[in-house]
C-alpha cells in the first residue's frame, strides 16, 4: 500500500507546481527581505554602511529577544500581552537590586521573576482555562500596577555606568544586545529542534486533543512555554536596563504588539502548530530595516506606525489568502 496511490483526487501533474508554490510561499518572506535590502542598499543614502547596520541591530535586538519567546507561545496557539510589563518589571527590579545588593543577584532575581509571571500565565491558561488574551491582559495590568505602587511610578536611578556595556557595548563591531539576541534565537531554535518540550509544543499547538489522547501532559507543556516566554521578556528587560541605565516602570509598553507583529510578519499563523525561529528573527529585522530606511530618507517618524501597519496587513494578508485558496481547492 502506498499513500500516493491512495489519494486519487490529487492529480499527479499538480504535485510539482504545488511543490513550487509551497517553496515560494515558504521562502516568500526571505525573498522579500533580500529584495528590500538590495533596494535600500542601492537607493537609500547611508543605508549600506556598517555603522547603520549596527545601529539597526542594536535597536531591534530587544524586540527580537521578546519575539523569540512570543514565537513559542504562538506555536502553542496562544500569545502573551504581558511581556511588556514583565520587561519593565525585570528592568526595575534589576536596577533596584544592583543598587542595593549586586549585579549577579539582580540579574538572577529579575529573570526568575519573569519565569514566575510566565508560570502564572500558563497556570491560568492551562489549568483554569481562561484564554490567553484575557489571562495575559490581566497579568500585564496587574504587574504594571504593582510596579507603579512599589516605585510610586518613579524611575529607579543609581545603576553604575559600567552596566551599560550590556545594552550599548560592542564586541568587535557587533553590539552586545545583538549577541544576546543571537544566543536567545539559537537557544530557541535548539529547543524547538532537539528537545522533547519543543516537539510537544508543535503537537499541542497542532491538535490539543490528539496530544492529550497520546498521553502528553498538555498543561505542563503550556505552562513551560509561558514560563520560557516570561524568561525571554525578562532577559529583554535586563538588556533594556543596560541601554537606559534607569529602571523605568512605564517602559516597554509597545513590546507585546511589536513582538507579535514581528512573528506574524515572519509568516507564523496565530492558529498555532507551525512556526520556526528564523521567522521571528526575519520578521523583527524586516520591520527594523523598514523603519530605518524611512528614517534615512527623511520620512517623518509619525509615518512609521502607519507603514508598519500596512506591512503587517500586506505580508499576513498574502499568506492568509494563499492558505484560504489552498483549503477551498
Amino acid at each position: 500500500m502506498n499513500a500516493q496511490d491512495i489519494a486519487p483526487d490529487a492529480p499527479k501533474p499538480d504535485v510539482r507546481s504545488g511543490r513550487m508554490r509551497l517553496l515560494l510561499s515558504t521562502y516568500a518572506l526571505s525573498i522579500i527581505f533580500v529584495l528590500l535590502m538590495l533596494a535600500f542598499c542601492l537607493f537609500v543614502p547611508h543605508f549600506a554602511t556598517w555603522a547603520n547596520f549596527a545601529n539597526v541591530l542594536q535597536r531591534n535586538s530587544i524586540i527580537g529577544i521578546v519575539a523569540c519567546g512570543m514565537l513559542l507561545m504562538i506555536v502553542t496557539g496562544g500569545f502573551d500581552l504581558s511581556v511588556g510589563a514583565v520587561g519593565a518589571m525585570s528592568s526595575v527590579v534589576a536596577a533596584a537590586l544592583i543598587v542595593q545588593i549586586s549585579i549577579p543577584v539582580a540579574i538572577v532575581a529579575a529573570l526568575l521573576l519573569g519565569v514566575f509571571v510566565g508560570l502564572v500565565n500558563g497556570f491560568f491558561i492551562a489549568k483554569i482555562g481562561i484564554n490567553a488574551f484575557v489571562t495575559t491582559l490581566a497579568t500585564q495590568v496587574l504587574v504594571t500596577g504593582f510596579l507603579f505602587v512599589c516605585t510610586s511610578a518613579q524611575p529607579v536611578y543609581g545603576v553604575p555606568e559600567s552596566f551599560t556595556v550590556l545594552g550599548l557595548g560592542r564586541i568587535g563591531p557587533i553590539p552586545i544586545p545583538t549577541i544576546i539576541f543571537a544566543l536567545v534565537a539559537l537557544a530557541t531554535w535548539a529547543l524547538l529542534r532537539f528537545t522533547t518540550l519543543g516537539h510537544y509544543i508543535y503537537i499541542v499547538g497542532g491538535n490539543k486533543t490528539a496530544a492529550r489522547l497520546a498521553g502528553i501532559n498538555v498543561d505542563r507543556v503550556i505552562m513551560a512555554t509561558y514560563a520560557i516566554g516570561g524568561l525571554s521578556a525578562a532577559v529583554a528587560g535586563v538588556v533594556l536596563l543596560g541601554q537606559t541605565n534607569i529602571g523605568q516602570p512605564a517602559s516597554a509598553g509597545d513590546w507585546p504588539l511589536t513582538a507579535i507583529a514581528a512573528v506574524v510578519v515572519g509568516g507564523v499563523p496565530l492558529s498555532g502548530g507551525v512556526g520556526q525561529v528564523w521567522s521571528a528573527v526575519l520578521g523583527t529585522l524586516l520591520l527594523g530595516i523598514i523603519a530605518n530606511a524611512l528614517n534615512l530618507i527623511g520620512v517623518s517618524p509619525f509615518w512609521q506606525p502607519a507603514v508598519t501597519g500596512a506591512v503587517i496587513l500586506v505580508a499576513v494578508g498574502l499568506d492568509s489568502y494563499q492558505r484560504k485558496q489552498r483549503e477551498t481547492r
Binding site: 500500500m1 528537545t195 489522547l213 498521553g215
Partner: protein, 493 residues
C-alpha cells in the same frame, strides 16, 4: 480473559447512553462491536480508553480490576484506540505522528532523538506492510493515508488491546483486505485482543471471531460470528423499535411542481448526481458515515465547491454560496446542532428567527416591532418546544428541544426546499415523533424536503423515494414502497 467490562454505565448531562453493558475480550480474539449510530459503541470504547473519569461499573484486565480515568492510564495498560475522527497533528510529519506521545529520548529525557524516531516509525510501518512517506506532513496525505498513519501508530505501541473504530470506512477494497490480514496476524502471532467496530456487516462476518450487538446502550446479543448471517445481524441491529407515529410511506401522488433539481452535481471529482424533488415531496438519502451524504448537502447550498447545476423552481442558481441559496429559498438544517447548528449562548427566540429576520421581519434594515417575538412564540407553540420560554438560552435546552429549535428556524424562513441532515440524531422517542410530524407538515404545506438519515425506519416511513449513496456514488434512487429495511441496510453497506 484479557478484558472484562462489567455493568458499564455512562451518561451525558443526565442522558443515559450506556445502560449497563457487559463486554469480554480474549487474548488473540477479534471481537466485533456492531450497532446503529447512537447505540453506544463509540462511547463504550472511549470509556475503555480512559476518556471519561465518571463512568460506573468495573473494568478488569487479566482479572485485575482497574479504573481507567485518563488516556495515559489506558495507554499504560496497553489499550490503544484508533479514533473515528482523526487524532493526528496535521502539520507534523508521518513519522512524528506515528511516534506521538512516545518519542524516543536522546542523551537525557530532555532531548529528542529525531533520527531514531524517524527510523523506528519507518520500521513499524514496514512491519505492518504499510508504505507511507515518512517525512510528509500528514495534512497533505489524503484520507486513506491518514487512516493508515493512525493504524500504524496504534499498532506499534506495545499494545495488548487494540480498538478500531470503523477503520475501513474510508479505505478501498484492496486496502481493507490488507488491513484484515494485518489484524489477523496481530491477533494470532502477538495475542493482541482486537475490538472492531464496523457498519459493514459482511466484513464483520469475514474478519471477527465473535460479535456483540448493541442497541440503545444495551447488549442485545453476543456470540461467535459464524452463528449469524448478515440479515440476522441486520435484524438484531434494527430491533423492533417502533416509531408508531409513522404510518406507511407517504404517497408519491400528492406532490406538486418541481422545486429542486440537481443536474450532474459533482463534488471533488465524483460522478455527478441527478435528482429532482417536487413541492410536498420528501426524498431520503441513505448511506454510511463517510459516504458523502453531508458533502452533497453542503454542495447544494454552495458551502463546498462543486460542479453542475442546481435549479430552484426551475431557475438555475448562477453562483452558489450559502447566502444566495438561502435567498432562493433553500435552507439547510446541519447535522451537528452544537457545532454548526445553534448559537448556543443566544436565546431560543434569537435562534428561531435567525433565518427569517433579514427577509421576512424587517424593512430597510429595521426589525418591525413585535414581529420577532410573535414569530418566536408561534414557532415555540407549533413545535411544542419545552420549556415554552423564548428568553431561555439555546445551550440550556435538551437535545430534542434544541433540534426542534433548529427545525423551527428553518421552517420560520418559509423555505421552498429544506435539506435536513440527521434531524433526529440522538433525540428521545417523543421529540423524534414530534419532529417527524413537523417534517411531514412542512411538506404538506408545500416544501420539498431532502432528508439525510441513519435511521432506516425514519427514511422508509417519511420518504416517497430514497437515494442510496455509497463511497460518494449514487447507487440507485428507489421508491420506498418497494424497499424493506433489510434490503436498504444491505444496499448501503
Amino acid at each position: 480473559m484479557l478484558l472484562e467490562m462489567r455493568d458499564i454505565r455512562k451518561s451525558f448531562s443526565g442522558n443515559l447512553v450506556l445502560r449497563g453493558i457487559d463486554f469480554g475480550l480474549q487474548r488473540g480474539q477479534i471481537h466485533a462491536l456492531v450497532g446503529h449510530n447512537g447505540a453506544g459503541k463509540s462511547t463504550l470504547m472511549k470509556t475503555l480508553s480512559g476518556n471519561y473519569a465518571d463512568y460506573q461499573g468495573q473494568i478488569l484486565i487479566d482479572g485485575v480490576e482497574c479504573r481507567l480515568e485518563t488516556p495515559r492510564e489506558a495507554l499504560k495498560r496497553g489499550i490503544a484506540i484508533i479514533y473515528q475522527d482523526f487524532s493526528l497533528v496535521p502539520d507534523l510529519s508521518v513519522a512524528d505522528n506515528i511516534g506521538l506521545g512516545r518519542e524516543p529520548k536522546g542523551a537525557t529525557s530532555w532531548f529528542l532523538a529525531h533520527a531514531e524516531l524517524r527510523a523506528r516509525s519507518a520500521r513499524e510501518a514496514a512491519a505492518l506492510g504499510i508504505d507511507l512517506p515518512m517525512d510528509e506532513p500528514v495534512r497533505r496525505l489524503g484520507v486513506a493515508g491518514q487512516q493508515l498513519t493512525e493504524i500504524v501508530r496504534a499498532c506499534s505501541q506495545s499494545v495488548r488491546i487494540l480498538v478500531m473504530d470503523e477503520p475501513t470506512a474510508r479505505l478501498a477494497p484492496a486496502e481493507r483486505e490488507h488491513l484484515f490480514v494485518t489484524m489477523r496476524k496481530m491477533a494470532d502471532n502477538q495475542g493482541v485482543g482486537i475490538v472492531y467496530i464496523s457498519h459493514f456487516l459482511e466484513e464483520v462476518r469475514q474478519v471477527a471471531d465473535c460479535v456483540t450487538i448493541l442497541r440503545d446502550g444495551r447488549v442485545v446479543e453476543t456470540g461467535p460470528s459464524s452463528r449469524y448471517r448478515v440479515d440476522d445481524l441486520a435484524r438484531l441491529l434494527v430491533g423492533s423499535t417502533d416509531i408508531a407515529t409513522i404510518g406507511a410511506a407517504r404517497p408519491a401522488t400528492a406532490v406538486g411542481a418541481e422545486v429542486l433539481a440537481l443536474e450532474g452535481l459533482s463534488v471533488a471529482g465524483r460522478p455527478g448526481v441527478d435528482l429532482t424533488i417536487a413541492a410536498g415531496e420528501i426524498v431520503g438519502i441513505a448511506g454510511l458515515v463517510g459516504s458523502g451524504r453531508t458533502r452533497l448537502a453542503r454542495a447544494i447550498i454552495g458551502d463546498v465547491p462543486s460542479r453542475g447545476v442546481v435549479r430552484v423552481d426551475g431557475r438555475p442558481l448562477a453562483r452558489r454560496d450559502p447566502e444566495r441559496v438561502a435567498k432562493a429559498g433553500v435552507v439547510m438544517v446541519p447535522e451537528d446542532r452544537k457545532i454548526s447548528g445553534l448559537a448556543l449562548s443566544s436565546s431560543v427566540e434569537a435562534n428561531v428567527v435567525a433565518s427569517a429576520l433579514g427577509r421576512l421581519l424587517s424593512s430597510f434594515g429595521f426589525i418591525r416591532p413585535g414581529s420577532r417575538g410573535k414569530l418566536a412564540s408561534d414557532m415555540i407553540r407549533r413545535f411544542d418546544i419545552r420549556p415554552p420560554d423564548r428568553t431561555m438560552t439555546a445551550g440550556e435546552l435538551s437535545g430534542g428541544n434544541a433540534q426542534k429549535v433548529l427545525l423551527a428556524r428553518a421552517v420560520a424562513a418559509r423555505p421552498k426546499v429544506m435539506i435536513l441532515d440527521q434531524p433526529t440524531a440522538g433525540v428521545d422517542v417523543g421529540a423524534k415523533a414530534e419532529l417527524h410530524r413537523q417534517i411531514e407538515r412542512s411538506a404538506d404545506e408545500g416544501a420539498g424536503v431532502l432528508l439525510i438519515s441513519d435511521d432506516l425506519d425514519e427514511l422508509l416511513g417519511l420518504c416517497s423515494r430514497i437515494m442510496i449513496i455509497s463511497a460518494g456514488k449514487v447507487k440507485s434512487v428507489l421508491p420506498s414502497a418497494e424497499l424493506t429495511r433489510a434490503q436498504l441496510l444491505s444496499a448501503i453497506s
